[in-house]
């Protein structure tokens, strides 16, 4: 019964989403406040209906209702509750429903927070959101319906793919989708602005928080996915330049660019047309990512099913929204009032450099991701574009950008003083160089790339520190005043500094991977093996069974210079029901590095064939992303003050606190 209710709610949601698309837009164009006012209510109703559908499906999973095909395929009555719930989005149908749910959540939030927005803008934004929701609801209903019943229900479900049976499944997809789908708001705002032919700093102030929310979730979602792949797949790698990873990286790159260009628009009323285009492109990349992952054109852990009608359907949605958005842009953008121009050496000039590098590196990733598909379609040649391609294209562009970042951060708006900035950054630069040379000296004979990358990371962190320091401290003021100023700095200043420093931390973590040590061996009981600074000894190899699996476990003790440091276990697991083997990596964290064990085979005579890695500083890769996310959240918390305080008052408030606007 609940399943039918959910199914019905899903279909009704499509109807209300169509209402949400048509009536408000009509009202906005015909200047009919009554129709335009429908936008908010229809957004709430659509959200409520999709939520009802989602909850119904979740209840079917919790209750192990095996008359529902989707539950049979992806759940099992003995699964713990967490995996029953996260099982909902472990498959194509359920995850598309989650996608639509998050889309309608954003529309409803825009409706809630849109009180201060011009009525017509709000109406058209929600209308575009409604159109996207309607398209994807139709997709779910027609090609990926999770509510289909079986006429002959089995007694037991098939269970979850063992790789997905992990806490990561509960967090990674919702976070990533919050990021992907969050950019739809910027898209809808861009389309709304194009339809009305009006765009100004106020528009940017409305869009920026939404972009920031999406960016925070996408950053954390990507980092989470990377860590999950790192510990679950047992290969010890954290990024594989897999098309599916690229599909999430591209919107991140453009979304980061968008985040910076909206600042320019908000503060200086410039870069307007570019920001509109970027808003359209960022969400287009999100849609492209959804297409790549969901259509089955590429195979990976993420492609659950490859039904060609689905691919074609998503491709049509893709063309409708990307094509429609770009056509609208080409037609209406020339009518927008151009933003002002500005001096090249200024904060806004630096942000243009940021946008240039981010956009071109996104293009480099795009080419590398789509080229194999295009080539195969053209002449049937199968190629693989892997790390060597991306290391030569996107990576150098990104490094060039990062070298610039501290300069941009310290430049003043309007007219920057490059010489002055250079002087202020001299200490930061000195520390970065010292870190680089020091590391180089200590690791003499080792790889050169690591100290260089480490220096770059330190440069970013010190650049942020310099910026904060200069905002708080002038010659002759006391420490107390400087401290008061630091506390009084706008949170967005701290947010920027943290986000950039977080990037620096990630860069250090990535650079340190070069120092990683890999040791392979076949060892007997009590036989030692040396892995970087550690010595591991096989303590025991044994069999064990757990809930839904049996496993061959190898247990090692870890010692460093004769002193015992701990133990690590890794196992080969056979999941009952699916009879599918997985390797459970054993990871222990020492300081900022990790010792990573991955068993290959436990032989009948008790010997163990094993792979160990010592990965110094590896946790910084994800730690840095976390710091970036915290920086974003700090910036976001600054928003209320910015919107509430009028422009005139804001200036005086900020001058008092000694900050540059």
């Amino acid at each position: 019964m609940i399943v039918e209710l959910g199914h019905f709610a899903l279909i009704m949601a499509f109807v209300t989403a169509m209402v949400q698309t048509i009536l408000p837009m009509w009202g906005a164009v015909a200047r009919d406040p009554g129709l335009a006012g429908m936008a908010r209510y229809s957004a709430f109703v659509t959200f409520a209906l999709v939520l009802l559908a989602f909850v119904s499906l979740t209840l079917a999973y919790i209750g192990s209702d095996f008359s529902v095909a989707n539950v049979v395929m992806n759940s099992h009555s003995t699964k713990p509750l967490m995996y029953k719930i996260s099982g909902v989005w472990s498959n194509h149908e359920g995850s598309m429903l989650l996608w639509v749910l998050i889309l309608t959540v954003f529309a409803a939030l825009v409706a809630v927070r849109g009180g201060g927005m011009p009525e017509r803008l709000l109406a058209s934004v929600l209308s575009v959101q409604g159109a996207i929701a309607a398209a994807f609801l139709l997709f779910v209903i027609l090609t990926s319906n999770p509510f289909l019943r079986l006429s002959d229900p089995p007694a037991e479900g098939q269970g979850l793919n063992p790789i997905l049976e992990d806490p990561g499944l509960a967090i990674h997809p919702p976070m990533l989708y919050l990021g992907y789908v969050g950019f739809s708001v910027a898209f809808s705002f861009a389309v709304g602005a194009l339809i009305h032919g009006r765009i100004d700093a106020v528009w940017a102030r409305f869009v920026r928080p939404w972009t920031l929310v999406a960016w925070i979730f996408l950053t954390l979602g990507i980092a989470m996915g990377s860590y999950w792949a790192y510990y679950e797949l047992g290969w010890g790698g954290w990024w594989f330049w897999d098309p599916v990873e690229n599909a999430s990286l591209m919107p991140w790159l453009l979304g980061t660019a968008l985040l910076h260009s909206t600042v320019v628009m908000e503060k200086r009323d410039a870069l307007k047309v570019w920001t509109i285009l970027l808003s359209i492109l960022t969400f287009s990349f999100s849609l492209l990512g959804t297409f790549l992952v969901r259509s089955g054109v590429i195979t990976s852990v993420h492609s659950f099913a490859s039904d060609p009608t689905r691919g074609i359907f998503i491709l049509c949605i893709l063309m409708l929204f990307i094509g429609g958005g770009l056509v609208l842009f080409a037609w209406r953008a020339p009518m927008l009032r151009q933003g002002g121009l500005f001096a090249p050496v200024s904060r806004e000039g630096a942000l243009v450099v940021n946008n240039l590098f981010l956009a071109t590196s996104a293009v480099a990733v795009l080419v590398g991701t789509l080229y194999p598909l295009a080539l195969e379609m053209l002449n049937g040649n199968k190629i693989s574009v892997g790390a060597p391609y991306f290391n030569m294209t996107a990576v150098p562009l990104f490094i060039a950008l990062l070298l610039f970042v501290p300069f941009g951060q310290s430049l003043a708006w309007k007219r920057g003083d490059l010489l002055g900035v250079g002087q202020r950054l001299l200490v930061a630069f000195g520390i970065a160089i010292a870190a680089m040379i020091g590391t180089f000296a200590v690791t003499r004979g080792g790889p050169v790339a690591a100290p260089l990358g480490l220096g770059l990371g330190v440069w970013l962190i010190m650049g942020s520190a310099t910026d904060i320091f200069n905002r708080c401290y002038r010659k002759g003021i006391s420490f107390g005043i400087a401290f008061d100023r630091a506390v009084g700095l706008p949170r967005s200043a701290w947010g920027t500094a943290l986000a950039h420093a977080g990037m620096g931390i990630t860069v250090i973590g990535i650079s340190a991977t070069v120092w990683g040590v890999e040791t392979l061996g076949v060892i007997r009981k009590s036989e030692p093996l040396s892995v970087g600074p550690y010595t591991v000894t096989l303590e025991q190899a044994f069999k064990r069974s757990g809930q839904g699996f049996r496993e061959d476990v190898a247990r090692f003790t870890v010692s460093e210079g004769g002193a015992l440091r701990g133990a690590v276990e890794t196992s080969k697991r056979i999941h009952l029901g699916r009879e599918m083997p997985t390797t459970e990596a054993g990871i222990v964290t020492y300081g900022l590095g990790q010792l990573y064990a991955s068993v290959n085979e436990i032989m009948p005579d008790g010997r163990v064939s094993i792979r160990f890695y010592w990965k110094p500083l590896v946790t910084l890769i994800w730690g840095g992303a976390l710091v970036m996310g915290i920086g974003g959240a700090l910036s976001l918390s600054d928003r209320r003050a910015r919107i509430a305080v009028s422009v005139k008052n804001r200036k005086s408030v900020l001058t008092k606190s000694g900050a540059r606007v």
Partner: protein, 149 residues
Amino acid sequence: MAMTRKQKRLSLIAAAGAVLAVAAGLILFALSDKIVFFYTPGDIEKQGITAGTRVRIGGIVENGSVKRDEALNVEFRVTDTEKSLTVRYKGILPDLFREGQGVVAEGVYAGAQGVNADTVLAKHDENYMPKDVADALKKKGVWKGEAGQ
């Protein structure tokens, strides 16, 4: 040093042009130099691939061909049911690497000695066959559909 409007616009365009040109150059160079083609064992012979080329080789792991030694060196033959080729690899094979199953190996083609692989990929789960392998086998008419679906 106030710049005129025209100078400002020109400097913007020049900067954009420079970055785009560098990016385009990098992309074109990387596409001509850093990509790896996929072959079946039959293709290698037919297309006269020279030793020293980096290749991706795909097919089925020939039954009874897997040889391992104490030092984790593995040797196996990859077949497309007509021709087969030896692949050597040092390290740990994926969980789902099996004789009679699909596999993709990437490495340097060494002529008569086969391929010295540095990466070996097998399917991700029991239903999955590497797409390249499935397509190649379909072409040869020996593909029996997705087993287990």
